[in-house]
């Protein structure tokens, strides 16, 4: 008898404890109307200018809206998605979340984010063109579709080049209206390869997104989607860019193989020293060139290359509202303020990326020839939604299959046929788990 009483007491204690925990979460929702509300804003800004711009905008908002206090929380791209999964599952996520569109796809289908359809002001909606909205429109995991964030910064792949070396080789300097084709680029790279210097350095430590985004130049999508099911595809279109980069490394020998293991910014010292004439990179790398280049170093931004088209796959940096946020209306209002065209121009300048806002893109600071802003901003017109954004399980395919396979291919350890075979068969196995 006493044993049973003791057990009952233990069970009751446990029940009380668990109840205590779960009611703790619910109680907060009750006092919505009373007093000033407070929002947590998880920002991933990391460049100095960008952090300053973010904090300044938050201060501005807090001064103008004393009833909705926004608290700036610093996050980091390195571990933000692990951090968010735990806070979503724990039920206490930040209200306003800075992330990028590849991550949103997964979060949206799991119901972590709020659908913003119909909740955003018309002027913000019309200020951002449809291709950018496409990068944040995802399946909600229940058969419908929704808009799960506001896209505000985009990145295109350009080439940063040493102007003196280009002038010395007497090559044509391209413009956004008449860009280099991949063939022309390969010829020029060969021409620039002399006296121990290479025409180009391909830093391919994380090759997947770069190759997939450029793949669209030849119509390479890497995935076919049939309804909700996705499969990997590596056909002739997909092989173009892979083969061309590989040729530069091992056939033309116009690309430095020792740069392969580098991250995007790592070849910069060699670039300043004239070891490589050209550096394919995202537009944001201009910031580091401006800050670190030795005095007298002349550089230019080369517009995106053209294959059969100039199209590049785009992802966006985004602001979203957590589905568990207690103050979704205030959070949406804050996002609308934070991403109006004036503020987008400030944020884009701080991060050296492209604003999605049409008005912000026409801001004089975004079209100046200084530091290649005109070329960078013009490249935004060729950005289309990256096909892999719609693929459930892309992240796992990328880290388990694509990254090691492409690294091995570019290191010339396997052939293109072998790489394609692995990407498809191993890849489909990974995707199958998500297609269930």
């Amino acid at each position: 008898m006493r044993t049973r009483t003791a057990l009952a007491v233990a069970a009751a204690t446990m029940a009380a404890l668990t109840a205590g925990c779960s009611s703790g979460g619910g109680a907060g929702g009750g006092d919505q109307a009373a007093g000033p509300v407070s929002l947590k804003f998880l920002s991933l800004a990391w460049q100095k200018e960008s952090i300053a711009a973010n904090k300044q905008l938050v201060d501005e908002w807090n001064k103008a809206n004393p009833t909705t206090k926004v608290e700036y929380v610093q996050g980091s791209w390195d571990n933000v998605n692990d951090q968010l999964v735990t806070s979503f599952e724990g039920g206490d996520p930040p209200d306003v979340i800075h992330d990028d569109s590849p991550a949103l796809a997964g979060f949206a289908s799991r119901g972590y984010l709020m659908d913003l359809t119909g909740k955003l002001p018309a002027d913000l909606k019309s200020d951002i063109p449809q291709p950018a909205w496409d990068t944040v429109t995802f399946a909600d995991g229940k058969g419908g579709q929704g808009v799960y964030g506001v896209p505000f910064l985009q990145e295109s792949q350009v080439i940063i080049a040493n102007k003196k070396l280009l002038d010395a080789a007497k090559v044509r300097i391209p413009t956004p209206d008449s860009p280099w084709t991949w063939d022309e680029y390969a010829e020029i790279s060969k021409k620039l390869t002399k006296d121990g210097a290479f025409g180009v350095a391909w830093p391919l430590k994380s090759p997947v997104n770069k190759v997939l985004n450029l793949g669209l130049n030849f119509g390479g999508t890497f995935f076919t989607t049939d309804g909700t099911k996705a499969t990997v595809k590596v056909g002739p279109e997909e092989r173009e860019v892979l083969q061309r980069i590989h040729d530069q490394l091992y056939k033309d020998k116009s690309a430095d193989p020792s740069a392969l293991g580098m991250g995007t910014a790592d070849p910069l010292p060699g670039f300043y020293a004239g070891k490589y004439a050209m550096l394919p990179a995202g537009v944001y790398l201009r910031q580091q060139v401006v800050e670190q280049a030795p005095p007298g170093f002349e550089w230019i931004t080369i517009p995106p290359l053209k294959g059969t088209t100039s199209e590049q796959g785009a992802t966006s940096q985004t602001l979203s509202v957590a589905a568990d946020s207690k103050y979704p209306d205030q959070a949406t209002k804050f996002i609308s303020f934070f991403l109006n065209s004036t503020n987008q121009a400030k944020l884009a300048k701080g991060d050296w990326l492209l604003p999605t806002s049409v008005k912000a893109a026409s801001d004089p600071s975004m079209t100046t020839t200084e530091n290649g802003w005109d070329v960078a901003t013009a490249s935004a017109k060729d950005l289309v939604v990256a096909p892999y954004l719609r693929v459930n399980g892309f992240d796992e395919w990328k880290s388990k299959v694509a990254t090691p396979t492409l690294q091995q291919y570019f290191a010339n350890k396997i052939t293109l046929d072998q790489a394609a075979e692995t990407l498809v068969t191993e890849g489909d196995k990974v995707l199958e788990r998500y297609n269930k």
Partner: protein, 310 residues
């Protein structure tokens, strides 16, 4: 406790004995309850929940529906090439770290057991890595291994052993050995201290006797020190093995399992499955499978050692 209980019960061993025994058991239980509740809530509860999850298809997500799937997770695990790759890496890591750590620590312990100058100071110094949390150790070694600014590359270049910088933690073939070195360094203090304590417990008379009989230094080490240390060695190497195969923080900070999964220890694999890809059920299966593997390996090892000792 059972012994005392037996003894007190003996005189009254008649028809009332059974009733008394169960009352005593109940009293013991009530007395233990305050200690049991936290253990049940914070330790046994989550453990059972984890084991339960292993048999479900639990996924992350607010609209995810969890259902019971029986052993299918275990079936998937058996045929998952990534898991076996990770398992292999885990074994290489745990065995090499444990063995090398043991050898290095034994050497260090023997040295510290000699009558050297500043002996107590050196003994304190040996403990320093123990005082550092794994994350700090990871960050520190990441700086040591840094391809351009790291002290290792610059020292090796100055000495003339290297003519170009090596990216230790991102090279496919060097990353795992580089991480193993850090693992050995991290675990040395515990092992050294335990072995040193064991060495100090070896009776001096044995050495004197060995000396009298003209045994060489090596012979004395082989026939006196090692057999005397055996229980300590068995204990510390098995503990080290369990610690090492469950290592997470250190490697997460150093490489996050990269490059291309070359340092993806089983626990990192489980972490990725759960928190990156959101397959909680599958990750739990992996945890359960690993508990079984570790218990099996340890059981075998300890059983053999015990049998030899007898």
């Amino acid at each position: 406790m059972t012994l005392t209980a037996d003894r007190t019960r003996k005189p009254a061993a008649d028809h009332r004995g059974a009733g008394k025994r169960s009352r005593q058991g109940r009293e013991t239980f009530v007395l233990m309850l305050p200690a049991l509740v936290p253990v049940l809530i914070f330790s046994v509860g989550p453990l059972l929940y984890g084991i339960f999850l292993a048999f479900t298809d639990a996924r992350s997500g607010r609209n995810a529906v969890t259902s019971f799937v029986g052993l299918s997770n275990f079936g998937d695990l058996m045929t998952d090439a990534d898991f076996w790759a990770s398992f292999r890496i885990g074994l290489i890591w745990a065995v090499s770290v444990t063995v090398l750590q043991f050898l290095a620590s034994l050497g260090l312990a023997l040295l510290l057991n000699e009558d050297l100058r500043f002996r107590s100071f050196t003994r304190v110094l040996v403990l320093v890595p123990w005082a550092m949390p794994p994350v700090v150790i990871g960050l520190m070694w990441r700086l040591v291994y840094h391809p351009n600014a790291g002290i290792l590359n610059s020292v090796l270049t100055d000495v003339g052993l290297l003519d170009h910088n090596i990216d230790w933690l991102n090279d496919f073939s060097i990353a795992l050995p580089a991480v193993i070195v850090v693992g050995i360094w991290t675990g040395m203090p515990q092992t050294t201290v335990v072995l040193l304590a064991g060495l100090q417990g070896v009776p001096k008379e044995l050495y004197e006797a060995g000396h009298m009989d003209g045994a060489s230094t090596f012979r004395r080490f082989w026939s006196i020190t090692l057999p005397q240390l055996r229980p300590v060695i068995v204990t510390i190497t098995s503990l080290d093995f369990v610690w090492n195969i469950n290592q997470f923080g250190l490697v997460y900070v150093l490489t996050q399992g990269g490059p291309g999964g070359q340092t993806r220890l089983p626990m990192l694999f489980a972490y990725e499955e759960a928190f990156r890809y959101g397959f909680f059920g599958y990750a739990a299966t992996l945890g359960v499978a690993f508990v079984i593997v570790v218990l099996a390996v340890l059981g075998l090892y300890i059983w053999r050692q015990m049998r030899e000792a007898n």
